[in-house]
Homo-oligomer: 291 residues x 2
Amino acid sequence: MAEDNKFDIAIIGGGPAGLSAALTGRIRNKNIAVFEHLDFSEKLQKAHKVDNYLGLPEVSGKGLMQHFTGHALAHGPKLVKEKVMNVFPGDNMFTLLTPQTTYEAKAIIFATGVVSTLLFAGERELLGRGVSYCATCDGRMFEGKDVAVISYTEEGENETVFLSELCRDVYFLPQYKGDFAKMRAPIKVLTAKPKAIVGDGQVEKLMTDKEEIKVHGVFIMRQSDPVENLLPGLELEGEVIKVNRDMSTNIPGVFAAGDCTGKPWQIAKATGEGLVAVLSAITYIDKVDLA
Amino acid sequence: MAEDNKFDIAIIGGGPAGLSAALTGRIRNKNIAVFEHLDFSEKLQKAHKVDNYLGLPEVSGKGLMQHFTGHALAHGPKLVKEKVMNVFPGDNMFTLLTPQTTYEAKAIIFATGVVSTLLFAGERELLGRGVSYCATCDGRMFEGKDVAVISYTEEGENETVFLSELCRDVYFLPQYKGDFAKMRAPIKVLTAKPKAIVGDGQVEKLMTDKEEIKVHGVFIMRQSDPVENLLPGLELEGEVIKVNRDMSTNIPGVFAAGDCTGKPWQIAKATGEGLVAVLSAITYIDKVDLA
């Protein structure tokens, strides 16, 4: 019955919330995909010591994630190591777009973690008009043109190298500490803080705290993209996804759990919400299947 | 600073929700009491196998509760093995009444578990007019009179023996399987299902599926009492406590977590809510302390 790219529930994010949802979803015998393109909650893995996840005293963040991934993945959800770029609602079925291919799912659970940055001025207005979150997807549109890459993750480095093979001037603005030796000419590495993206209907320049850079495109690589861009129409409350007590959002079939629904940014809150979200998603699917 | 019977936060119930709240409350350095008069979630302890608490695969309910109590109690919340009968709101301070004494707390977290039974017809109307949840508290009012004890727990047996020393006719209606050999005359053990409590302003009789018993008092011993009777004015939604996303209730300073806030009746949901409730309670206390 299960095709390779069709699932009952697609869980976006493999941190504590996503893994808790996957675990209970599999125990309830649903066909589950976990989309995790990075390394299972980098934020938690860096935690020196966690002591308030009841039942597992004094464990390192890394150790806790090993317990979590070992437990959840043993139950056989499909782990998809691709980044979900967009979610499109359809007729009782959602389509998920990654740089590589597309997937389908009857229900979606956002477990994308904290979005720790506010959007840049101009980012929302110019999205798709020069602003992009995916070089693999959109790079070709900038052949022979000038682009900047604002990156919060190492992943952005490969994307930048790829762009340097296509584009004219490529500016790399890492927003993390690292060794950028491999970012060779013609890539220009800038140590500057981006402030705003400016353009009249199309990106014209990137403003930083140091200079003004004329570019046709700005790529932004974050740990997780603003969910409102992933699925337009998803209702937010401030910066977080607005959820009801059963973790449903304003869009039928779309649920959310963990840090992306707001504070407290704590593991037990995330695993509890993941559990509730997947049970609510199963109830939703069962109704749709009957209809 | 801490007196023996004064706490920052009183947590009513020592199941997964209550212990999770106690753990994080202690880590946040608050003076915490956990009121648990029974044996830490009898319901969970009876679970043969639990496999969806992320990070602790294939553990027995009893084993899981050992992990939970070991972890939480190591952080030194005060464990009070008394049953909270009533909570009275006061001036930025709640008073908790047990059969033995009184306690005070700045904030309350209800973590009382599932109330699996509906109230009996007449129970709410006749509470305090012959209906009672505590023989130790109210027994003396029935000296020389006739009483019935409806019990869902073994604890009710001792209360009934106590009543038999005071009252005239004492009927014991156990609603669980057990050996009632110690319930000797004059106690009358009845195997009947209670249906309704009847009386005009005062208890007059108990109706069962088999007979009609004339009594002046009806004692009801459940795993947990209906919370609405514990704290009058607490808003319910159906049978469960109505909570907001931050686990606050309609009464400032009163929070709730776990099965008593509704389904799903699952461990991760309970521990997550316990964590959120205690952080919200701390925020509340800090505000009150500043005011």
